[in-house]
């Protein structure tokens, strides 16, 4: 075949697209300038101009509008940073608190183990200065090993826990090094672990990885404190390297009293699976258990969404989505927190008045709306606030800053009531695994609130238990559990309720309940004293049981009343849009994405995106004007796992070159009859046609040339997007479909 390249000097080169930069692994597109200060200066100039030109041309007013928008965006960004850093630090504190008791348990064990090792004797001077380990009896080769069960298959949540544990032990005087499973790879071998230890203990970057260096360093520390090595996730370590590491440490344990702490995601059996018996026999294991992810989740939800934290909150649909995401995705808090952060950032981007939350965080409990504090124009702010949909449905309000401040303080009060009742319900169901996030999802449901409200409006005398509780749901489960409590348990619960409701309107109901309980308690103890010997003991028990039933019924009634009267979800309050993020679809798209499905839909429905006039929207027919890769992908739908490249190529040609065939359904292009026709045309004439088209393409003369090259580009683009795989040596004539269906 003649090389057409030689006689086509005008053919554009692909090099046009390939600048040197694109061939480099990376390049600097631009260097950051010091334009921030310049910008500030120009900003000042612009502001002046804004005043000068406020009534000038429409272009100028557009500029002013842009600047205002930019300024507001900057304020919202600042507000987001303040709010999110508050949320983040709250989460960190919560997780630290959860771990406190386990951490102190571990700390005590570390010190006890250290004392045991020391009781075996510290090396004398000649021993200490030798550059090899001291050999004593087998007991001197035991390594105290704390196994911390994380009960979490996804180690990503526990990284922070082990980091915090390290910090905690350091604060208690231990020398601590944190190793990760990445240090225990066969590629790095034991040298990798040792170098990491030296780096962390000696702050040294020595290439020589030698235990004697570590031993002499520890000697300089006067053998005063324990040396703790924390390995966060042993399931991910190479058993081979870990076993070598254990054997090495056990040899040196007299000189360097290392205490190991290892994170275990599954069970104790893991140790036996990972380590050979000669390594296992050196371990002297102790077990510790961290809180389960669901408990941590409850603690986070409580601190961030149910206690006054940042003022930012999420609507019911978002909460349900996040709960399901947590349960069905990877069950990690890390993903949950990421979802919350995306929700928060979306909220601040979308909601102009979200800047108000900045003050909410900074002033905490004393927060009161001060319009001037937010850098917004008061008129604009009022107009915007009173135009919010939640403000349209209710009673007409006077559009003043005072009435807005009043509305905000009412919203805050109602939210506090709502939170208090949710927390009371949670306390009631806590022991029986009623999850706080489930309660949150149910209690924040605006539909069920509106239904309840409508029923109560119809019949104000409706008993509290009437319309409200749905069997099997978290709220009714929590209420049911109260019914079963003994008087003593009830007393404890009511005390907790009392502290949870302090400062809210429901407090007096709880307090009344407490008094009643005290009275009943007094009566029954009197009864106990006045018991006559004649009275049957079972009768007394019966009475006590009756009393407790009576009391728990009363507690249930109070709880139901609280639920009926004080559980107004935030989404049913005016101005909630400012504080509450509700757009679940936006969150879902940003969080999960859907690349494989979407890219197929892009190709199959490209008309919807490109909105061109030449291709018929909604038509199933393939038109020659359609995007080439889209035609190729549509045709690929008609094939099985393997696509015969020849057939595929011919089908494409028939679509592009024979517009008449476009009237037929694309599927018909592959009917056997058609194939036969193509076959009959013979290979030679086919080759001639290809050659001819190639010539045409080189000379850039006729539009048909695309039938030759476009499918090649199309196949390549489908390959880049991961929808097909290239032919293999074994099957050189077939491409393989990767994605089937959406």
């Amino acid at each position: 075949m003649a090389s057409p390249g030689n006689d086509a000097p005008t053919t554009p080169s692909i090099d046009d697209a390939v600048t040197d930069n694109n061939l480099q692994p990376f390049f600097v597109l631009q260097k950051g300038s010091l334009r921030k200060s310049e910008r500030n200066l120009s900003g000042a100039v612009k502001t002046r101009r804004k005043i000068d030109l406020s009534s000038a041309s429409p272009k100028a007013s557009e500029d002013v509008e842009d600047e205002r928008e930019e300024e507001n965006m900057k304020l919202r960004m600042e507000a987001f940073e303040i709010v999110w850093s508050k949320v983040e630090s709250t989460i960190k504190d919560v997780l630290r608190d959860i771990n406190t008791s386990v951490f102190s348990e571990i700390q005590n064990w570390v010190h006890e183990s250290f004392n045991t090792i020391k009781s075996l004797g510290t090396p004398d001077f000649p021993e200490a200065t030798q550059s090899f380990p001291i050999a004593r009896d087998a007991s001197s080769k035991k390594l105290f090993t704390g196994l911390v069960f994380t009960k979490n298959m996804e180690f990503v949540d526990d990284l922070l826990t082990f980091e915090e544990l390290g910090k905690h032990l350091k604060s208690q005087g231990c020398h601590v090094a944190n190793l990760s499973s990445l240090d225990f790879t066969t590629k790095n071998g034991i040298g990798g672990c040792l170098r990491s230890l030296l780096r962390q203990f000696l702050m040294s970057t020595l290439d020589a990885a030698d235990m004697s260096i570590l031993a002499s360093w520890y000697g300089e520390q006067n053998y005063a404190n324990p040396v703790v090595v924390v390995i966060d996730d042993i399931e991910r370590c190479s058993g081979f390297v870990l076993s070598d590491f254990i054997l090495m440490l056990s040899e040196w344990v007299v000189k360097i009293p290392v205490i190991l702490i290892m994170g275990v995601a599954t069970t104790l059996d893991t140790m036996r699976k990972i380590l050979p018996s000669n390594a296992l026999q050196h371990l002297c294991p102790y077990e510790f258990t961290l809180g389960i992810p669901a408990e941590r989740m409850d603690a986070i939800v409580k601190a961030v969404l149910l206690k006054p934290c940042s003022g930012f909150t999420i609507g019911q649909k978002v909460a349900v989505f996040m709960r399901n995401y947590f349960v069905s995705q990877d069950g990690t808090l890390t993903s949950f927190i990421r979802a919350l952060k995306i929700a928060c950032s979306l909220h601040f981007y979308m909601e102009p008045l979200s800047v108000i939350l900045r003050e909410c965080v900074l002033e905490e409990d004393n927060w009161e709306l001060g319009i001037e504090k937010n850098g917004l124009s008061p008129e604009l702010m009022l107009k915007y606030a009173f135009d919010l949909p939640s403000c349209q449905s209710g009673e007409m309000m006077e559009q003043t800053s005072e009435s807005l401040a009043q509305a905000f303080s009412e919203l805050k009060r109602l939210q506090n009531e709502w939170r208090a009742v949710v927390l009371c319900l949670h306390e009631a169901g806590k022991g029986e695994k009623v999850r706080l996030l489930d309660l949150y999802c149910e209690a924040s449901d605006p539909e069920s609130y509106n239904k309840r409200k409508a029923e109560l409006d119809k019949d104000p005398d409706l008993p509290p238990s009437g319309p409200i509780l749905i069997k099997g749901h978290a709220i009714s489960e929590a209420v049911r559990l109260v019914r079963d409590l003994s008087t003593a348990q009830l007393g404890k619960l009511i005390s907790i309720w009392e502290s949870l409701t302090t400062g809210t309107e429901v407090y007096h109901r709880v307090f009344a309940l407490k008094l009643l309980l005290k009275m009943e308690d007094g009566k029954s103890s009197k009864k106990d004293f006045t018991v006559t010997p004649k009275r049957h003991t079972s009768r007394i028990k019966l009475n006590t049981g009756k009393d407790s039933k009576l009391m728990s019924d009363k507690a249930v009634t109070v709880l139901e009343c609280m639920y009926r009267d004080c559980m107004q979800p935030i989404e049913c309050m005016p101005f909630h849009e400012i504080f509450c993020f509700r757009d679940v679809d936006k969150l879902r798209l940003a969080l999960i994405g859907d690349p494989r499905r979407r890219i197929q839909v892009d190709l199959l429905e490209f008309q919807k995106l490109l909105r061109c006039s030449c291709c018929l929207t909604g038509s199933k027919a393939l038109l020659p004007t359609m995007h080439d890769t889209s035609i190729m992908y549509n045709l690929a739908q008609e094939h099985g796992d393997l696509i015969n490249l020849h057939d595929w190529y011919q089908s494409f040609k028939s679509v592009v070159l024979c517009p008449n065939s476009s009237k037929k359904k694309s599927r018909q292009s592959l009917l056997p009859k058609k194939r036969k026709e193509i076959n009959e045309s013979g290979n030679q004439s086919e080759a001639d046609l290809q050659h001819y088209e190639m010539k045409q393409a080189q000379l850039s003369l006729v539009p048909q040339r695309s039938s030759q090259f476009a499918p090649l580009m199309g196949v390549m683009e489908l390959q880049i997007t991961g929808l097909i795989r290239m032919p293999t040596k074994r099957r050189p004539d077939f491409a393989q479909r990767v994605a089937f269906g959406l």
Partner: protein
Amino acid sequence: MDFNEVDEEEFGFSRNYFLAKELGGSSKKSGRKLSDINVVDEQELRTAAASIKPKHQKDIAALINSYKSLYPKWAFELRCGFGLLMYGFGSKKALIEDFASTALPEHSVIVINVWDKKMVHTQFNWYWYHVPTFAPYKVEGLFFPMILAHGNSNQSAKTAAIVLQSLTPNAQSVFRILAKYQLSHPDDEGMAIDNLYSMSRERFLVSSQVTLNAHLTEFKDHELVKIKRNSDGQDCLYIPLAAEAIEKLLSEIN
């Protein structure tokens, strides 16, 4: 997004799936060979393919332009600490670079041309965006072999040159030794690794076997070099390209 629409789409796809399965058998029987269509030199193919005037240029430009309104939002998300993960059909290279230079003028921007798809989702704080552009994958496509080209499973000289140019001068020189050997010993099964090592060492291109191995790994990763065992049981290196392609490649990296 309209969920009813999705249901319909899904129905359509499942229909297609079964249809595809049904046809699967017959398509496997399809004995047509790729070679029935004339295969041509890959470089020529690429040049010619690049000359095709893309369809819908205006519509594509309008679509890409429509994303400019999202620039402030993307900048906002970046400042919030997220990484933006953009997906959808079409090259996003130009779009992203335009975003970086127009919406982030105060920041330094580094472009990393990643050639593989290794991405660990959990280690990044991704924020997903569906941004189809329908722009041709011009640059991205350079690193993918094309069907209908001569020896489509092999790297073309052009792609090899691109990869080589991104390597160090020493690595290029090591490759040159191998290439010249292959040209001067067309009947050999390849060049013995020991032989390559001693020649590279003589020319001060590598100081140890480890350095040579690092270069070889790089070559192998990009399929510039393959290994086979010769009749003596020795591991030999060869470049999976035709003699002309190797000559062209050598002239390009010179």
